[in-house]
């Protein structure tokens, strides 16, 4: 693996349990990803696009370690760094029984690499609240008392608490309305510029992908159909499916 590579995925096949399988049927498993490979440079923004059900979330969840049933290789540059993830739905990814302040501190409490004192935690929480541009008074609230955009900021904040080297954002704005979408995207871009953190950005929206990413991967039915520099792919799509998507998004003409 190249020294500048933060993440390398080789020939990844991912499986789910087939819940509908009967006792005697052959198909105990459904394969959700077929032979996916990718390689990310330090500080790169890689976008993953494709229709619903194409396996984008599955890929993300396998990289961070939620899905364990796979073959192939996932190599990370930073051993002690767990990649963090911002989930698609900010309404379900925060524990409803906890206060925001408690949730932000949890990554520090369970940190295996460092023992955080109470003061250090408070300082870190304050830093992060400034980064995600929310007032400190929100720490006392519970998730139900926040708007969708505010929740997604908190999710980003939680993901950033231990300064991960790799952040995966799985359609972080698709549950939000348009003006809030723009704000969250701007926040992600600023964080990326400021900290040089590598980001995998999953999205439906090819316009956003163009704006934000260095590389793009187009997926369909669990396979990679196109993968390359975003500019190249948009200017000169190699695959019929990519052109279709670009046309549908109104980026290239018929």
């Amino acid at each position: 693996m190249n020294e500048n590579t933060v993440l390398e995925v080789e020939n990844l096949n991912v499986f789910y349990k087939n819940n509908k399988s009967s006792l005697f049927s052959q198909n105990k498993k459904i394969q959700a990803l077929f032979d996916v490979s990718l390689s990310m440079e330090e500080g790169e923004v890689l976008a993953i696009a494709g229709e619903s059900g194409s396996g984008k979330s599955t890929l993300a969840r396998t990289i961070v370690g939620i899905n364990r049933d796979y073959t192939g290789r996932i190599t990370k540059k930073y051993e002690n760094d767990t990649p963090q993830m911002v989930f698609q739905d900010p309404y379900s990814s925060l524990n409803p029984a906890k206060k925001i302040g408690w949730l932000l501190k949890e990554p520090l409490r369970v940190d295996r690499n460092k023992k955080w004192t109470a003061t250090e935690m408070d300082i870190r929480v304050k830093e992060i609240m400034e980064e995600i541009e929310l007032p400190m008074s929100m720490l006392e609230r519970s998730p139900a008392q926040l708007s969708g955009g505010q929740r997604q900021r908190i999710c980003i904040g939680i993901a950033l608490m231990r300064s991960p080297k790799l952040l995966i954002a799985d359609e972080p704005v698709s549950a939000l309305d348009v003006t809030i979408q723009a704000q969250i995207l701007e926040l992600l871009e600023n964080l990326h510029k400021k900290h040089g953190i590598s980001i995998i950005f999953i999205s439906h929206d090819l316009r956003v992908v163009y704006k934000i990413s260095d590389h793009v991967m187009i997926m369909k039915d669990g396979r990679v159909v196109e993968y390359g520099k975003t500019r190249d792919v948009y200017l000169n799509p190699q695959h019929e499916y990519t052109s279709q998507l670009l046309k549908a998004a109104g980026i290239i003409q018929e």
Partner: protein, 274 residues
């Protein structure tokens, strides 16, 4: 909205069950508390001159077949009944929650095996199960408490397992797992607080079932031994005098009904908490 005192007042106003439940339960608890320090008569003091009296100023619930003051005995008996109910629900909740949480959270083979055992236990009515346990370990209120507690485990295990099955793949759990939260911490610190509403109302329903089961079992002659008696035992002792001295049966009976009603209203009130 974040002020708990205000929320409490609003709920009291808009939620008659909560108010009724709190009043009835408070009265019963008051009677039990007073009974610890003071009873009008010694509950075990027999008096052959005053057998089977009806309600009077001297004995506000009358006397029993040995001339003991029924009110004093009810004060004492309610305490035993409440202790058995608390013990039963505590055993049922703690053991049941632990089993349900672990099986629901981890799933897999252990879940299958434990749940089949629970299913088998569940197939017996809990009274029957307790009866079997008591007949093996002998009678007495400690045995009764343990027996009922074990009999209550399956229902709590099921409720909690269902909740954990629902929660274990939620985004917030996976999010916490990514941060490196251990399984044990996930179960008790992250998921359990989310099912406390369900637990609270099933604990109150459990109290009711425990009070009734205790009464039923004592009625069948297992459980607390003379001279002290739980409410259920008093009821069973009193049945022969049902027609000659109705107050002897009615008074402990009414207290049982009030206890059950109070817990039921509280449970309903909590489940409607806004």
């Amino acid at each position: 909205m974040s002020n708990p005192g205000k929320a409490f007042k609003r709920n009291i106003r808009e939620n008659p069950y909560l108010l009724a439940g709190m009043i009835i339960t408070a009265l019963i608890l008051l009677m039990i508390l007073v009974g610890i320090f003071w009873t009008p008569y010694d509950p075990t003091q027999m008096n052959s001159a005053e057998k089977l009296q009806g309600i009077s100023l001297r004995h506000i619930m009358g006397t029993d077949n040995m001339g003991r003051d029924v009110f004093s005995r009810v004060m004492y008996g309610s305490r035993i009944t409440l202790l058995i109910a608390i013990g039963t629900v505590a055993i049922g909740t703690i053991v049941g929650t632990a089993i349900g949480a672990v099986t629901g959270y981890f799933g897999g083979m252990m879940d299958e095996i434990l749940m089949r055992i629970i299913d088998a236990l569940f197939a017996f009515p809990s009274i029957l199960l307790a009866l079997v346990i008591v007949s093996v370990f002998g009678t007495g209120w400690i045995q009764l408490l343990v027996a009922l507690g074990i009999a209550f485990v399956p229902s709590y295990a099921r409720i909690v397992r269902g909740e954990f099955l629902r929660c274990r793949n939620m985004d917030y759990v996976e999010n916490a797992r990514l941060q490196g939260v251990s399984d044990l911490r996930m179960i008790f610190v992250h998921i359990l607080p989310n099912i406390k509403g369900v637990l609270a109302s099933s604990i109150l329903i459990g109290f009711n079932n425990a009070v009734l089961a205790e009464a039923g079992l004592s009625y069948l002659g297992v459980g607390s031994q003379p001279p002290y008696a739980s409410l259920g035992k008093m009821l069973s002792d009193a049945q022969q005098y049902m027609f000659t001295t109705p107050s002897y049966v009615l008074c402990p009976g009414i207290v049982i009904v009030l206890m059950v009603l109070g817990f039921a209203f509280l449970g309903e009130g909590i489940s409607r908490w806004k």
